[in-house]
Symmetry: D2
Subunit: 176 residues, 4 copies
């Protein structure tokens, strides 16, 4: 279930804006700060994103749950695209012709060593083969340079109806 409601929300007397008395005691939020590295960094031929391991990523065996790495890998792909100027929201809104999105088609994963709570990991993403409708991205998750997980991910571009499309030229160019 989604959370919250959209703006505006002004004229509904039966729904006061702070129905929860607890909310009254909340401190004023801090002013928004600048976070220069939030999307990681472009590096020679690719991109690197730091990822912290939190409780949510672990399981009762004491280490990171295997599916959590897929979330880390996607954050890396997303921020690589972001720094190339290819935003998910912009793609959906038609910035590259008409509505477009990326869909994962295949993945091959090799889990070599486990990560644990509080670890700082780095997700490195590099472009592999690029065909008419698909991009292969080669990714690693490392900790202080040691490889924990490798992945090869094939993504396709799809239209608003979910049908595969040719890669828009502008996207192809940004991948060099």
């Amino acid at each position: 279930m989604r959370a919250g409601r959209a703006d505006p929300f002004l004229n509904l007397p039966s729904l006061p804006s702070s129905p929860n008395p607890m909310a009254m005691t909340q401190p004023a939020p801090l002013p928004a700060a600048a976070w220069p590295d939030l999307a990681g960094r472009l590096v020679d031929g690719g991109h690197v994103l730091p990822v912290r391991v939190y409780y949510e990523d672990t399981d009762f065996s004491g280490v990171v749950y295997h599916a959590s790495y897929l979330r880390f890998l996607e954050r890396g792909r997303t921020d690589f695209l972001r720094l190339l100027g290819i935003g998910h929201a912009a793609m959906a809104a038609g910035a590259f012709g008409s509505a477009r999105a990326f869909a994962v088609r295949t993945m091959t994963l090799d889990f070599r060593r486990p990560a644990t709570i509080d670890d700082v990991l780095e997700v490195t993403t590099r472009r592999g083969d690029l065909s008419g409708a698909r991009i292969v991205l080669d990714q690693t998750v490392t900790r202080k340079g040691e490889v924990l997980v490798t992945a090869s991910v094939t993504v396709a571009v799809i239209d608003g109806a979910g049908r595969p499309c040719r890669l828009p030229a502008a996207i192809r160019e940004r991948f060099g």
Copy 2:
């Protein structure tokens, strides 16, 4: 990133339907079976849904991660609504006038005892107060009758633009 693609997917010669050689070795799927209790059961004045604790729900402290209970609770609310004839997909498609959805507005949670891997839990959901635009749902997560978590959840009905709406009469009636 979404997975897979929509139907149909017939006329793209460069994208064979099984590009992954591994897929060739997959066994034929089994025929779809009937699962009578998959959405739990309506009981006197409410609904009960069984939930198994899997690896995905635990964290490195050895027990269930606190936010996992919110997923369990929502499964219970969703299946309560389902058995009352109020499906999320149908609501979004306009089955109750025009596009409608439920949004969580407030939650109060009391975590009393932990659950662990392999546990079978039961999520019980009962209707609390019902006002013009909101429904309160009182929920418990139990294990063999012992209460582990209690929750009081206020949900609002919103329209396609995210604005709060009056409860459709048909929904109000189904809640009795």
Copy 3:
């Protein structure tokens, strides 16, 4: 962060058992029911588990998030093992000699078609190759018999220190 506390919790006057006034209004939990199909069913040469798609499994593109399938696949593997008499908790507790666990070593995934909210999926798991320390499991996610996702998963048995072990004979036998 874990939720709740362990038993017993009797002798701490400063921590009343229901510190949250909301909790007072919770209805008594329903008696525990029997859920015969909760772990799916063994079928000829394998196992099938039904999985409902909930809000938690979807993403803003409108369909199931790709990593959610890994959670579904693991539920299938876990319940296959469960019905073969190989429980995660029991393995960890030394039921097969000393502490043992399964760890995912490699996965190959093919995402063919998307699933959506409210879908009932079936996860089918069959044993593939079995070597000294590894088991290959071939899995599919289907909807009414249509294949959405295929996966080949290699799992290894590890000891309490995370080191790979020979498959215990009792586990090997149960896999036939």
Copy 4:
């Protein structure tokens, strides 16, 4: 199921270190970089952590799934503690006397407005009441200063058996 295996992993000839041919094609990982703001920042009387909204955090309604905020809130609490010198791993290892952990006991949540894909959110955490065995943390999730979610979270300190404990003096001092 956990992923990967622990070190060392040297003497098992049947388990080569890169059994997956795909792995051969992986590029060398990049050298570990410095990420100064990864744990957010201490600010007057509290802590602020930036959080990016990714696909994994959204649901099919198009906005952030309500339970995702609990993950964001915990990241904020965890990094607040981290910058105060109170690490989860260190607590578990006995840095404050003997094994200690934090457990969530109660939460009150008010979901006011939705967040969407690509948003940059800020999780602000401030200390509320501090009693013998409990700490109240007041948290907000904001976007460019606008409050989306408020939460009041009571956490307890527990020992290795899950029993509640007095707050260690060293932890109490760090919270000022």
